[in-house]
């Protein structure tokens, strides 16, 4: 009888520990790079799918622009704008610049940079949109996101 009790207790402890181990949160990282080499003016939407069991979301967008201008906007699934910034270069994007840029893109002059960080606890699930609005822009954008998901609460 004593042995049966011990076995039952051990089984119970094992079960609880196993459940706890699986209930831990996991992170999901995503990095996207967008390069604009040819004076881009096309609006792009980058979507981040936030699952229902996401407990927190971190989004960081870093952009550098050498020519033209670039606006970045962040929208949640309710289409509410949560943040934005614009970076503008004073230099006009001429045909000569476009040509030179493709040849010497690493050695051209200074850039204008913008960075935004957003932390959201219990983010609204659904499609988060990062809207990229370039105007004759030459530069790059790096979008990093980290979702912390609770595995026990699918």
């Amino acid at each position: 009888m004593k042995n049966l009790s011990k076995i039952t207790l051990a089984t119970l402890l094992f079960t609880i520990l196993t459940i706890n181990a699986f209930a831990q949160e996991t992170t999901f990282d995503l990095v996207r790079n967008v390069n604009m080499f040819t004076s881009d003016s096309e609006v792009k939407n980058i979507s981040l799918n936030v699952q229902q069991n996401t407990s927190s979301l971190f989004v960081e967008i870093v952009s550098n622009v050498q020519y033209g201008s670039l606006t970045i906007e962040i929208y949640n699934p309710k289409k509410e704008k949560l943040g934005e910034f614009t970076v503008e270069s004073q230099l006009p994007t001429t045909d000569k610049v476009k040509k030179e840029y493709t040849q010497y893109k690493d050695s051209l002059g200074e850039f204008v940079s913008g960075q935004i960080q957003k932390y959201v606890n219990s983010p609204t699930s659904g499609k988060w949109i990062i809207k990229i609005i370039p105007k004759e822009a030459i530069g790059n954008i790096k979008i990093s996101s980290r979702s912390l998901m609770n595995d026990s609460n699918p």
Binding site: S69, G114, Q117
Partner: protein, 327 residues
């Protein structure tokens, strides 16, 4: 903590925002760690839509941060009217024209200044949690920023329901600041920070009343803001009714006047149909005299008088002697 900023005292002057005739200055002492450049930049923000726009063309001044952490911007060349400015620092691996929004590395803050402003920046622990002395307007700006920073931290630390609740409550608090603030540009800054764009449709009257309050403000900031708020609808229905009533009264007046004038003309035409004798008798009738008195005055018989009176009544188209008195 990447940016450690020490206490700064900008002299012992009792500063005022419009200390006309004296030299203005924006200064402070900050100590930056090794990731930051030892330069600090002042940018002009021409409208509230450009608060988070970074461009080299917006940077109007840069100055070195010396070994003691001191920096200083002269304000002599600034416009005499209040304008919005942004002060920022940049990382060593980044462009001077860089903006970082959110997080511990946020690299900028906003101030309102003019050419006479003397602004001292005190007790900075991070670049976005500075304290400003000697400027009432900028003290309110800091208060507004503290509220929005609290909203952001709630988004990070609390559940969605609580953070939604906190955001609504605190945005309402910022709108209250905007409503009661006596500095127009600060009031507008408060509205911008309260995310007014999401509130206009449900609270339109508040924004229209706000613009009524500041109707004499013609700065570019207010002009841009006015364009985003739907104008009051003119009360077409009541105006039409008002003007219709005036027109009706005018036409009625004209008609009545015309009617009485016609009546008068008609009666004076009828009078011309009376004989000389009848006119004399009419005159006596209008004096209220009886047939007997008329008979005695004109030395004619009463039956003759009665005949004249009857003719007079017929010719003037009236029914009784009493009506003669109204002629």
């Amino acid at each position: 903590m990447n940016i450690i900023v020490l206490l700064i005292l900008c002299g012992n002057v009792g500063y005022s925002q419009n200390d006309s005739g004296k030299t203005g200055k924006i200064e402070g002492i900050i100590n930056l760690d090794s990731i930051w450049n030892d330069k600090i930049y002042l940018s002009h923000i021409p409208d509230f839509g450009k608060m988070y726009t970074m461009s080299k063309s917006m940077i109007i001044a840069e100055t070195n941060i010396d070994s003691t952490g001191h920096f200083s911007f002269d304000t002599n060349y600034l416009p005499s009217e209040d304008n919005l400015y942004r002060i920022h620092v940049s990382k060593k691996d980044s462009s001077p024209a860089s903006i970082i929004i959110g997080g511990k590395d946020e690299n900028h803050f906003f101030i309102i200044a003019n050419k006479y402003s003397k602004i001292s920046i005190n007790n900075i622990s991070t670049i976005n949690s500075i304290e400003i002395n000697s400027s009432k307007q900028n003290l309110i700006i800091r208060k507004i920023d503290a509220i929005t920073n609290y909203i952001d931290s709630t988004n990070f630390n609390e559940s969605r329901i609580k953070s939604d609740f906190v955001e609504k409550a605190f945005n309402e608090q910022i709108r209250q600041i905007a409503d009661t603030c006596s500095y127009p540009l600060v009031a507008l800054y408060a509205l911008k920070k309260s995310k007014f764009e999401t509130n206009v449709s449900t609270n339109l009257e508040f924004y229209q009343n706000f613009l009524d309050k500041w109707q004499n403000e013609d700065s570019a900031y207010f002009k841009t803001f006015r364009e985003t708020i739907p104008k009051r609808k003119k009360q077409v229905g009541s105006n039409v009714f008002y003007y219709s009533m005036i027109l009706l009264a005018f036409i009625s007046g004209l008609s009545i006047n015309y009617f009485y004038r016609e009546q008068k003309n008609r009666k004076s035409n009828l009078l011309t149909t009376l004989s000389v004798q009848e006119r004399k008798i009419l005159s006596l009738l209008q004096q209220g005299k009886s047939n007997k008195e008329i008979s005695e005055e004109h030395n004619i018989g009463i039956s003759t008088v009665k005949s004249h009176v009857s003719n007079i009544l017929n010719k003037l188209e009236i029914k009784s002697r009493k009506d003669v008195l109204d002629l």
